[in-house]
Every structure is written in C-alpha cells, then in structure tokens.
C-alpha cells in the first residue's frame, strides 16, 4: 500500500517503532519457518519410500511457500514501499488465498483416509499378537507330540517289563520336569497296591495301600489323568518338606492286560481288568500347574505303557510255552526211542527164544515119543508118558506166549484152509476124555443138524480155542458133567445179542458157528467175569486158588475169536452154580468153485478123480534099467499097460497112436528133448498125439522151461510115490497138462 493512498495512521511514536520491530521480526521468522517446512517435508518424503499423497504434499508445499512469501513480502510494507512491491504483495496474497482454499478443500478428503490408515495399523498389530500366541500354542503341542513319540519309542523298544516301566518314569520325569513319578502295581491278591517303581528314590520299600480307597477308585473309573490331592496316601511319597507348597499331583490308571483278556475275535473285555496307578508330582514351590496338553501326554503314555506291557506279557507267555513244548518234545523223543528199543529188544528176544525154546522142546517130545515105541516096563512107560504130557503142555505154553506177542502186535494172521469141522470137535473130545474120565466127569458133545461138515478157516486155532474153553470147564469142575453144543447161529439170534463190539454181518459164503460149553463146576463170581479175558489176571476165588490157572489161555482165545470176527463170553450165576462159556466165530462155507488149482500140488486129498487107469497104454522111456523098472512097476501097480524102451530110436519105433502117455526120464541128456520134438512131428493131429511127461530128479527152473519149450505136456519130480503118480495120471486125463511146481 502506498503511503499516499492509505488511510493508515503512521504514528511516529517509539512505541510504534518497537511494535513494528517485533512484527518485523515475527514476520521474518514465520517466513523462515514457512520456507523451511516444505524443505523438511521434501527431505523426509524423499527419504521415505512410501507416501501415497504426493500431490497433496505439493499442494501443501505450494500453500506454505506462498504463505511464507506473503509474510516475507510483508516485511517490505512496514516502510515506504513502491507500487510494485504492493502489486507483488497483492498477487502473492491472492495466490495464497487460492491455494489455501484449494488445500482446505483437499484436506477434507484426505484426513479421513489418513485416519483410517491408523485404524488399520492398529488392527493388524492386534492380529499379529494373536497369531503369535497361537503359534506359541502349536509349538507347545508339537513339543508335546514329539515327547510322546519319543517316550513311546523308548517304551516300545524293549520287551522287558522292568525296562518298560523304568523308562516310562524316567522319560516322563524328564519331559515334564517332574519332581517325582511313581508306579503302584496291584499285588497278587488284588486287594492292595504296592509301590513298585519310583523315579528318584532308588529302592522303594514295599509300601502298600489298600486298593479300595475312594481316590483310587476315582482314578480307576476314568481313563483320564485325574488331579489328586498331594496328601492322599498314594501321593505321599517323599518326606514332606514342611514349609513349602507341594506341587500338584496327577494320577492316571495303567491297564494291565493279560493274555486271557484277548479273546479270539474280541478285544479285551472291559470287565475283569487289573490296573496299576501312575502318580506324577510337579516340583514343589514351582507354582507350576498341570496344563491340558501335559495331562493328555500323560494319558497317552499310560496307554502306550499298557500296550507295551501286554506285548511283553504275551511274548513271555509264548516263550514259556515254546520252552515247555521243546522240553516235552525231548521227553517224547526219548520215550519213543526207549519204546523202540524195548520193542526191538522184545522182538529179538522173541526171535531167539522162538527158535531156542522150541528146539529143545521138540527134541524132548520127539525123543520121548520114540522112547514110547521101544520096549519099556510099565513103570518106565508111565514115566515116559508123563514126560511126554508135561513137555506137550510146556510146548503149548511156549507157543501160547509167542503167539500172544504176535497176536498183540497184530502180526498174526489166520490160516484159511478147508477142514472137517466135525472131526475137530471129535478130536477135542478125544483129547479131553482121558482127563474127564479121571475126574469122573460126563462129557457130551452135541452137533447141530445144520452144522456143515466142512468149513473154511484156521483149523488149528479153532481147535486150540475149543480145547482151551473145554479144558477150563474140565479143570474147574470137580463133579457133574460138561456139555458141548455146536450149531449154526441164525441171523435173528445174532441180532438179539447186543454186544458192544460185535456186529455180525451175514453173508452168502460165511456162517457163524456158535459153541457153548456148559459145566457144573465151581462157577464164577459175576464181578470177576470182566477180568477173565485179561491175560495173567487170576481170580482169587476159593475154587481156583488151588489150581494152576493158565494165565494166558482165555486171553489168547479171545484174540483168536476176535481175529475170526467173533465174540466170546462167559456167563455164570454165581459161585457154585456152574458156568457157561460161549463163543461165536465166522467161518467160510466151502464150495467146489473155491478150489482152484493153477498148479498141481503133489499132496492131493484122497478119493479124487478117476483112479481107474485100467488098460491105459503108456510108454516109459528111460535109459537106466533100474529106474525104468521102478517106473514100470509103479504104473503097472496103478493098472496101466506099460511098454518100456531104453533109447529114443526104440521109442520112435514102438510109439503108436494107441499110447496115451509117454513118460520120459530127462536126466539123461538132450536126447529126451529132441525126442519130444520128433514126437510132435510124428503126430500132426493133436488128438492122436500121446501126452509127453518128463520125469526128472533135479529141481531146476531151466529144466522146466526146456520141457515147456519143446512142447512137453508135463513135468514131475522124482521120487514119485504111488499117490503122486495116481494124481498125475488123473490130472493128465482131465486137463491134459501137469506141471509140478518147482
């Protein structure tokens, strides 16, 4: 403003000069400040990388600069100033006004934004803090998990009970930094818990607490770790420190699984379980508390321990079983070897005794019988007869013993021949008659009308059985009579008898022979009957005490009868009422077709085939005069018309179609074989040709083969008995072939 146009007062007082001076200085400083602020701003913004509102800054800078400029220019207005200065002053003020308004308007938009940035910053800070917390938690859990794994690994790396439990306590103590850790195991009786393992105290005294304390029940009833009071008996493990606060105590149950808990398709039953108690104590005065994750750790460990213990128990069990089996195996092996040795020894003994015992027996019997046939005085004869009888008895006994052993082995096999059944009975009767007559017992034999004359079976052993049974009857009877009945058992009556082991099977070519021997003797107590058939058992009844019972007889009979698919039994009504011994055996029915003769057996039963060879024309060729004469005599004796020749030429000359058989002795040499061939050539028609039979003294298969090869019809071995020749001739006439078995 110029001084001429302004209406301002320009006082010329000193005070105005002072005021003006102050205003002057203030304006100066304001301008300075206004100029320096943007500089500062620019400096710091350049320094900082991020500042979103550059335009705002520029605006603000411009505003400030202009304000500063205005105040600066104001300095010149205090004194006389030219019009230019006034114009500049006005321009700058106008500009300043514009910019400041613009800035003010801009700030309206910007300040809320700036404020919200702040809010967001706060929010993020909170979030970060929260995450930090969670991270800490996870880390802790991870830590816990690692501890558990490590613990489990430690626990499961051993199968020894002690080690498992000890390791558990040690590791738990370490992981959780416990003051004390203890394990209480149930005693055998199950009524108390005994302190078994502790962490710090080396030798736990066998300190026990009863199992039915409420606190223990509480722990056992849940599978979680339960906080318990440090004053309860299970937790009072250390001598109380006195003035200090004991640390918190937690207890958890440890299931003890036994082998019996594992049923096959079933996990261990929840009932009937044994538990051990694990007690863990935090250090006293630590003000530590049990955290959830720590409790979880404890629970997991307790379960692992249970499993590890059960594994150890199972392993122990199986090892024990295996050891037991091995022992048993060894024992069995030994027993088997001993048994084999015994059997071998017995067989050797039998084999030896078989021969050794029988030979002298036979010698005695043979010589005694020979002695019988010489001239003896009556006393001598009696003596010899007694010797014979006794030795026969002894021989029978020896045979019985040897037979019985074979019977028991199962190695005895019955013979099977056709024999005369009736004559068996008659012979038994003949054998027993002398003894019976001495005792004045009446012997009667009754054979059923339908009893076949011939039967197939083991004649010798059947006779032995009958003899034994009848013999017993005679032995144990002092008076009265013995009646023997034999008949065919009918199917219906067989079914009626209900014997547990005897199942008769009727068939077409077998019949069941039933024999009953009734005696009027001493009888047997029904209670003793079962033992009769066991060998060497003797009943101690009055009657039998005096007699020398044959311990083996009935036992052998029973075995023979069993082998014959039958049954033997004794009935008695009591002492003094006599007894009836009966047996049933299976015998075969012979018929013609059963007898097949593939080869000619020299010992033929008599009355067989045509024995009338009257007029049968035969030719005998033998170069040995004596032999020729004998053969001729033999054939003549049988009624043949015999021509004899000494050489092959003679034979061929004499031979005609009238001759039915040519007997040639082949011991002389090859001549006979040639002769046979020539005879074949002579007679082309088969019916005309005489049968050619070789006679030889040598039992050689080669000879037989040669004979067959040259077409001979038969071969018989010298010496030839009358019966044999008879058989040969009938065989020849019937079958036109007769080859004796060599």
């Amino acid at each position: 403003m110029s001084i001429e146009s302004c209406n301002c007062i320009e006082p010329q007082w000193q005070a105005d000069e002072l005021l003006m001076r102050y205003q002057y200085i203030s304006d100066f400083f304001i301008a300075l400040a206004y100029f320096s602020i943007p500089l500062e701003l620019i400096y710091f913004v350049k320094k900082s990388a991020v500042f979103p509102y550059r335009w705002v800054l520029v605006q603000f800078g411009a505003f400030i600069v202009l304000c500063g400029a205005t105040h600066l220019i104001n300095l010149w207005t205090f004194t006389m100033h030219s019009r230019t200065v006034a114009v500049v002053m006005t321009t700058s003020k106008v500009l300043t006004a514009v910019v400041s308004c613009a800035t003010a308007l801009m700030l309206v938009h910007i300040i809320p934004d700036l404020l919200s940035v702040k809010t967001r910053e706060l929010f993020l800070k909170n979030k970060a803090a929260e995450l930090d917390r969670e991270m800490g938690l996870i880390r802790t859990q991870e830590e816990t998990g690692r501890h558990v794994r490590m613990l489990t690994h430690e626990i499961r790396s051993t199968l020894d009970r002690h080690t498992i439990l000890k390791t558990t306590l040690v590791e738990l103590g370490r992981t959780l930094a416990l003051e004390e850790c203890a394990l209480w195991m149930p005693t055998r009786t199950g009524l108390e818990l005994q302190l078994s393992y502790t962490l710090r105290q080396q030798n736990p005294v066998g300190y026990t607490v009863p199992i039915h304390l409420p606190v223990i029940n509480q722990v056992f009833s849940s599978n979680r770790a339960v906080k318990i009071s440090p004053n309860c008996p299970v937790a009072r493990l250390r001598p109380h420190a006195g003035k200090f606060m004991p640390g918190e105590v937690v207890a958890v149950r440890v299931p003890l699984l036994h082998l019996s808990n594992f049923q096959i398709y079933d996990w261990p039953a929840v009932s009937s379980r044994n538990y051990a108690l694990m007690v863990l104590m935090l250090p006293s005065d630590s003000a530590r508390q049990w955290h959830v994750h720590e409790l979880e750790l404890v629970e997991v460990v307790a379960d692992q321990v249970a499993v590890a213990l059960s594994h150890a128990a199972i392993l122990e069990e199986s090892m024990r079983a295996r050891d037991q089996l091995m022992e048993q195996n060894v024992a069995l092996d030994l027993a088997r070897r001993e048994a084999e040795t015994a059997i071998r020894a017995r067989n050797d003994f039998l084999a030896v005794m078989n021969h050794e015992m029988r030979t002298p027996m036979h010698a005695i019997i043979a010589l005694s019988s020979l002695l019988q046939e010489t001239e003896l005085t009556p006393e001598q004869r009696l003596m010899v007869e007694t010797i014979l009888k006794s030795s026969n008895l002894l021989a029978t006994l020896i045979n019985d013993v040897l037979d019985l052993s074979r019977l028991e082995d199962g190695s005895l096999q019955l013979d099977s021949t056709t024999f005369n059944l009736h004559s068996v009975f008659r012979e038994v009767l003949n054998l027993i008659k002398p003894v019976a007559s001495v005792k004045k017992l009446l012997l009667t034999l009754h054979l059923g009308p339908d009893l076949p004359v011939y039967a197939i079976g083991d004649e010798k052993r059947l006779m032995q059985t009958i003899l034994n049974v009848v013999g017993n009857a005679v032995k144990f009877s002092k008076e009265g009579g013995i009646s023997i009945t034999a008949f065919v058992a009918k199917a219906e009556s067989l079914k009626d008898m209900r014997f547990p082991d005897f199942i008769p099977v009727p068939s077409d070519n077998h019949f069941y022979l039933r024999v009953q021997v009734k005696d009027s003797g001493a009888g047997i107590n029904p209670q003793d009957i079962p033992t009769l058939f066991t060998k060497f058992a003797q009943t101690q009844t009055l009657a039998t005490r005096n007699s020398s019972g044959n311990g083996l007889g009935l036992a052998i009979c029973k075995r023979f009868v069993n082998l014959m698919e039958g049954h033997i039994w004794i009935e008695s009504e009591g002492i003094g009422k006599g007894c009836t011994a009966s047996f049933i055996v299976k015998l075969g029915i012979p018929d013609r077709s059963n007898e097949s003769k593939p080869s000619f057996a020299p010992k033929v039963l008599g009355n067989h085939g045509p024995s009338n060879f009257a007029g049968l024309k035969v030719l005998v060729m033998d170069d040995n005069g004596v032999s020729r004469t004998v053969t001729k005599g033999l054939l003549v004796h049988l009624g043949c018309d015999v021509t004899t020749v000494g050489t092959s030429e003679e034979c061929l000359r004499v031979l005609s179609h009238e001759h039915k058989v040519v007997f040639m002795d082949v011991s002389s040499g090859i001549e006979s074989y040639d002769l046979a061939v020539r005879i074949h050539e002579m007679f082309t028609k088969r019916q005309d040709r005489p049968l050619i039979v070789a006679l030889t003294g040598n039992t050689n298969k080669v000879t037989k083969e040669k004979c067959m090869r040259v077409g001979m019809d038969g071969l018989i071995l010298k010496p030839v008995s009358v019966d044999k020749m008879r058989g040969v001739l009938s065989e020849l006439l019937e079958h036109r072939v007769v080859f004796e078995t060599i």
Partner: protein, 152 residues
C-alpha cells in the same frame, strides 16, 4: 523060530537100515509096488540093480585105469550109477555118486580114484545088507508069515 520073532527082527533091521541111511523113502515106495501080482518085485529089482551096478563098476575101474582118463565117460558111468541107486533107494551109494560126480567135473584123477573106492565100498555094504534083509524075508515066508508093511 516063530514068525513073530522073525517079524520083529525084520522090523528092527529095517528100522536100523533106515536110521543108518542105507535106505531112504524110495525103498519104501519100491516095497509098496510089490503086491499079489508081483510078489517078488523087490527081489527082482534088487538083482537087476546088482547086475547093472557090477557092470558099471567094472566099466569105471577100467576107465580110471587108463593112462589118459576120459572124464566124460567116467561121468556118464557115475551118472548112470547114481540114477539106479536113487531109483532103488540106496541112499549112501547115491550120495557117494554125487560126490564122485563133483570130482569128475573138476577132472581130479586122484580124488576120482578115492571116490571110486568109496562108491565100491558103499555098494558092497548095501548089497550085503539087502541080502541079509532078503534072507530074513525068505525065512519069514518060509515060516508061514507075511512080510510086514513098513510105513514111512
């Protein structure tokens, strides 16, 4: 002498002959062939045997006295002798022949000579024993009895 005594004697003698091995079962057979139609069968057979044996023994002696012995011939003689003796039941003679044949196969001249001696001896024994038996039988028949039948 009475028949029973003679018969007893005969029986005993026969038994003795069997026990000592002079006779075997073949002789029994031969005896069986004697019946009413041929009452002298045994005696006839025996004389035939003696005749034959003499011939064989002479032949054998001859053959073995040669400078170079024809063992085949010797063997065939022995074979014949064996056949005859076994047909009549002269057991010891037969056995001696078997031994003789073995040495013939080995062509052992010395042993053959020894065997011949053995065979001759056995034959002589057999002949004399049989003749004794026949004289007994003759006596029995002469006294009116019958010759007992021996069972084996």
């Amino acid at each position: 002498m009475n028949v029973a005594h003679l018969q007893r004697q005969w029986r005993g003698y026969t038994k003795y002959l069997f026990m000592e091995g002079y006779l075997d079962d073949q002789f029994l057979l031969v005896q069986q062939l004697q019946d009413e139609e041929k009452p002298d069968f045994v005696v006839e057979l025996a004389s035939l045997f003696f005749h034959d044996s003499q011939r064989i023994l002479d032949g054998l002696t001859n053959a073995l006295n040669q400078e170079s012995i024809d063992f085949k011939k010797v063997d065939s003689y022995v074979h014949q002798f064996r056949g005859s003796s076994s047909s009549i039941g002269a057991q010891r003679v037969k056995n001696a022949c078997i031994v003789f044949r073995n040495f013939c196969e080995e062509k052992d001249a010395n042993s053959c000579h020894k065997c011949l001696q053995q065979v001759k001896q056995e034959y002589c024994l057999f002949k004399s024993k049989l003749e004794t038996l026949f004289s007994l039988e003759h006596q029995i028949v002469g006294a009116g009895g019958s010759i007992p039948v021996m069972s084996s």
